[in-house]
Amino acid sequence: MQKLKLVMVGNGMAGVRTLEELLKLTPDLYDITVFGAEPHPNYNRILLSPVLAGEQTFEEIVLNDLDWYAQNGIELKLGRKVVDIDRRNRVVIADDGSRAEYDRLLLATGSNPFILPVPGHKLDGVIGYRDIADTRMMMETAKVHRHAVVIGGGLLGLEAANGLKQRGMDVTVVHLGGWLLERQLDETAGRLLQTALEGRGIAFRLGGVTEELMDNGDGRVCAVRLKDGEVLAADLVVMAAGIRPNTELAEKAGIPCNRGILVSDTLQTFDPRVYAVGECANHRGTAYGLVAPLFEQAKVCANHLAQFGIGIYKGSVTSTKLKVTGIDLFSAGDFLGGEGTETITLSDPIGGVYKKLVIKNEVLVGACLYGDTADGGWYFRQVREGANISEIRDHLMFGENAIGDVGHQGQNSTANMPDDMEVCGCNGVCKGTIVKAIQENGLFSVDDIKKHTKAASSCGSCTGLVEQILISTVGGAADVKPKSEKAICGCSDLNHGQVRKAIRDNHLTSISEAMQAMQWRTPNGCATCRPALNYYLISTWPGEAKDDPQSRFINERAHANIQKDGTYSVVPRILGGVTNAAELRRIADVADKYQVPMVKITGGQRIDLLGIRKEDLPKVWKDLDMPSGHAYGKSIRTVKTCVGQEFCRFGTQNSTQMGIDLERALSFMWSPHKVKLAVSGCPRNCAESGIKDVGIIGVDSGWELYIGGNGGIKTEAGEFFVKVKTAEEVMEYSLAFIELYRQEAFYLERTVHYMHRVGLEHIKKAVLHDEARRKELHRNLVFALSLQSDPWKQQIEQPALNRQYQRIDVRPLESV
């Protein structure tokens, strides 16, 4: 088949990222030609400041070397500027006369520095700060000249000023605004920053209006004259007064532009064959100048270039970080606030710490931090997720560590972590290794880090921590997304919510059907998406969708818990933790007969037989003659109980019987993640109901229900849900909540995270305020559970299932 021709104009970060995404999707769809005006392959433009400051070299910031272009069959035309597009004949023409035909054209022309049109702006020694040539020129100038003036006190200007100062020049920053970084900081933080930079010897002229750049008589700049008459000596003038989208080429070709090339939500310009991404594009009125939004655009654009036609870019929330070593500031979202917003402020001018959080309708919408930015990434995540913060409002200012305890999931700040501290326990990856991989390979997402270092690629419990390291290393460029926005895995661009919806809306009942309908990129998925799809299918269409054992992790396929030596552990069901002599005798006999290396009482009031060989599992189950306790699955686990009213002198309710009834009702239930319950007979709460997915506490007048508790990686106390009078109500409300969770949670999302995502109010509305809905949810779960039976029995009785436990002995073939 004749390949289509894709031409890209501009060889910068946004454009090349689009090509990378495209090649991942369809490596063979296009013959690709790239025109770059600079004589370099794609480099990491946001690291120009560390190069200027002498902290990194140019070679270190190259993202795609020439080999990369060659390996991907991309024709790279460096040092050639495209000067014209003939849209009728679909040809681009470069300044050396070379031409390239296209079927699709991608404009990634970036931006130009805005050069103030003051007298003298064309003199030698007057430059913008956009590329490696500017950076090198500044480095050379610093060797022979003394005085530099930077016009503009924004991010770029301050980074340039800092770099030039590091290289030994006297630097003055002329800034029109009332304080530094007025687009990133409020006035208080801006003043703190100014004091810190003045401490490093950089001078400032705030409110300074540049009137003229003066000639030394040789055509080189020698001074800057301000409107108030002051004259500043200047051998070098860096214009950092903003950038302008580079739309010259597009405008010449008649493509509509208005402060950027106008693009749709699919990054398409007015001409459907022409796309635009990056700083040159104007999306819904915004031309982004930060790298993270550009990468989001790249992803969407690549998807459409690949002819997949899914994915919409809706704009980005951005965060910024100043890359000046030793100065910590961070801002995200709407940090200035305004009408309808509330502000929480912490200000310690002597200690050099200032924090401001902006809240609107109980949601964090912006943050501005100076001096202590350890929680920047966490605040940024809150802003992006738009989660309701009313319950943590009084701790919010004190950061993530103040919210509950500190655990593995990225809940502690990474900034103070030593380099040799292990982050990923599964694969033994230390912080230093991750930071190094990020810097050397130019990584911007957790997925990239997984691929390069293996961190967070096994159990995933350190994903949050890895994400924080990423944010603290590359700042706002980090490509972090909440699970609700992330693609389910590399096999599809759809996120969990979209997959669930598609399965429901299109009545999909098998994995192959679902993969086909949703255009999965891989023939049979991967170890991440198949278990999720299987769960979504069986929970959405109970009785219709057929469970696929091959899409389950080994524990759920073998109905036992795999141990590190490949043996299994067996936990029979012991309802409510209540057993009897006959059961205990059978367990003891099994332990003897199969020489079980360890017999252990579990935290869930059951008995665990550890170290069973797989081929013995069916025999063990048969001899036990007890149903599966599901101690191995994303499923109901156990209902822990206390002694309760029957024997306990404090008991107010029959908690044991309530627990037994609940556990029996929920037997063999599959769920997005494990589900644990507890029932206590009085507020002394001996069954620890406060840290269970559903916790029930008996009181004199009835029962209190708590939901969303968790005693795992990070301890979470359950939220009070409702108080009811009767055991029947306990059953109905508990099951209704669990069914809502089963229907709405993402795979591998515990109740606490589900609750934080959708909000407690949403759950209350469905289960408490709407009786019909509650009864329907309850009915649905009872129906789904009526189709389930003891998996151990099935494994013993059905030959097709039993096969996996039988080892095959080798027999030589007679005729060889």
């Binding site: 096994s458 049979n524 992790f553 795999i562 996996q804 080892r807 095959i808 080798v810």
Partner: protein
């Protein structure tokens, strides 16, 4: 070549596996969605996890212990991991899976 008779192809589930008790240790036999059959020592090069218990997709198995991904055809761990699960030869004759034990041979990264 010393071929051993293992089982009927139908006795391995598609995207599933079986364990063969061979004299030199367990061997995992995998069947892909396209009915190709591969055999590897049942030991992940990482920490010895039983690969037979992993999830099979495409021509890859994910180890059940730490999710290392092993290419079934070569036995090589997929990047970024480095390692090799020793591979054996298989063929299907008249609907039956046959195995030939492969004395030491390096795995050829695919």
């Amino acid at each position: 070549m010393n071929w051993l008779d293992i089982c009927a192809l139908d006795e391995i589930n598609p995207l599933g596996s079986r364990v063969v008790a061979a004299p030199g240790g367990d061997i995992a036999i995998f069947r892909t969605a396209s009915d190709e059959v591969f055999a590897l020592d049942d030991r992940c090069p990482h920490k010895g996890g039983p690969l037979s218990q992993g999830l099979v997709f495409g021509n890859t198995v994910a180890c059940p212990l730490h999710n290392w991904q092993i290419d079934l055809a070569s036995g090589a761990a997929l990047a970024p991991d480095v390692g090799c699960a020793h591979r054996h030869l298989t063929r299907i004759e008249g609907g039956r899976v046959q195995l030939a034990l492969n004395s030491k041979e390096e795995c050829s990264p695919s």
